[in-house]
Subunit: 255 residues, 2 copies
């Protein structure tokens, strides 16, 4: 944690207590987590066509596929063996390990459900460029920022169980093209995310060693919310407002 914290300007305030720091991190969710985004209201409320949901699943694949690279980028900078041992299950959860096919495979069950070809999905060539830029910004953030700030950027997981519960209920109820089986990804995350976010939250409380680092951690959660928000803005613009950019997936081709 010796690196300089690369953020704008910091207050001269004293360090936050553990509880204040915890509260500051958690306050980011109600302010800008993507459950507030209009696209999610449409998605969970059953207001989207099958093609629009397919576009969401296709684009969100890019994010899923980036996560293990992000976690490997983090581990490549960690000199503490125990921390690497504590972190590696995140890669297993997405890539699978042994008999577990992993979260990316479970995500592809969802895209299969829309008749999307796996090669097309995994090539990402039909994804929105804004999606791909956003997820790569996340990988690069974790590769470049101080470790404690990189860990903090994972903390949108604090807000994930709520959105996953809403999504499972809302999508199963509202779309006849979504079956229980294809929601396996989100069900699994309901168990994994709370464990991971608790670990990361304790880590940043233990390791942020100045007010500046604490504020950079809060800023990292905002950054990560932006990564998620940008993806929904891009989906809304392309598939609700109808401005599909050149080369991107066009639902009418498939449905």
């Amino acid at each position: 944690m010796n690196e300089m914290v690369a953020t704008k300007s910091f207050s001269d305030k004293p360090m936050m207590s553990r509880d204040e720091f915890d509260a500051a991190i958690r306050a980011v969710g109600p302010e800008r987590y993507h459950d507030l985004h209009p696209f999610h209201h449409l998605l969970h409320g059953g207001k989207l066509s099958k093609g629009q949901v397919a576009a969401w699943a296709l684009n969100r694949y890019c994010y899923q596929a980036a996560v293990p690279r992000k976690d490997a980028a983090f581990m490549s900078r960690v000199h503490d063996r125990q921390l690497r041992r504590d972190w590696i299950h995140r890669i297993h959860e997405h890539d699978g390990h042994g008999d577990d096919p992993g979260g990316i495979e479970r995500w592809l069950v969802l895209t299969d459900n829309f008749g999307l070809d796996r090669e097309y999905v995994t090539s990402m060539r039909g994804a929105l460029p804004a999606t791909r830029f956003a997820v790569e910004a996340y990988v690069n953030f974790v590769r470049e920022q101080p470790l404690v700030v990189a860990v903090a950027s994972s903390l949108t997981e604090l807000f994930a169980p709520k959105i996953h519960k809403e999504r499972i209920a809302g999508m199963l109820e509202n779309y006849d093209f979504i079956e229980d089986r294809v929601m396996a990804y989100f069900k699994k995350r309901l168990v994994q995310a709370p464990f991971d976010s608790e670990f990361a939250l304790n880590f940043i409380k233990d390791h942020a060693s100045s007010r500046a680092e604490q504020e950079a951690c809060v800023e990292a959660v905002r950054f990560k919310c932006n990564v998620l928000w940008v993806q929904l803005d891009a989906l809304y613009h392309a598939y609700v407002n109808g401005f599909v950019p050149p080369g991107a997936y066009r639902p009418e081709e498939v449905t």
Copy 2:
């Protein structure tokens, strides 16, 4: 494999056949693998003092500790999920996973044997600067080079089983301060290294797509040999010739 290969000048020769490429990779070992280094002859031949062997174990720890970061750096760049799944056991083998304490822990059993404090070893503050520069050059090489070239740099493992066998026999026979138990690291590698090197060799044969990439792969094995050689040069200069640099471990402090 689409990136430009960043190496000097290439011949206009046609691509090597798989067999020629295989032979070119294997030819690097007899030319410059560190089993040729005079320090290894001293080490295996029982010609070193306990303090000199301790210095070797202390410095070589830096290399062991860098390997999982190197493998994570590689994985952070791999978009192919199956390749990540095939690679991750390398991190497990060094960091340990579940009940397996891993290769780094087995290495620390060796440094324990010399009465070296674990905090001192893992802090690396007594290691030779040349050692640390060399191992970080390896991590950076893998982070920056084209994937196929990064994979090729692991191929010094082709030459490792022979040196490990010599080392186990030579060290057990020649040093009364080395017991069977502390050679656990090398025994384990006798099983792991052939599997890993076969996988990597097949990978580069399948994926090097031009003469230039093939030559860059051969060059990567030479680079990696240099990473290993530099470490023994530094040990020789410091602990055989007696030019211990400021701040580095001095055996007389401990033995």
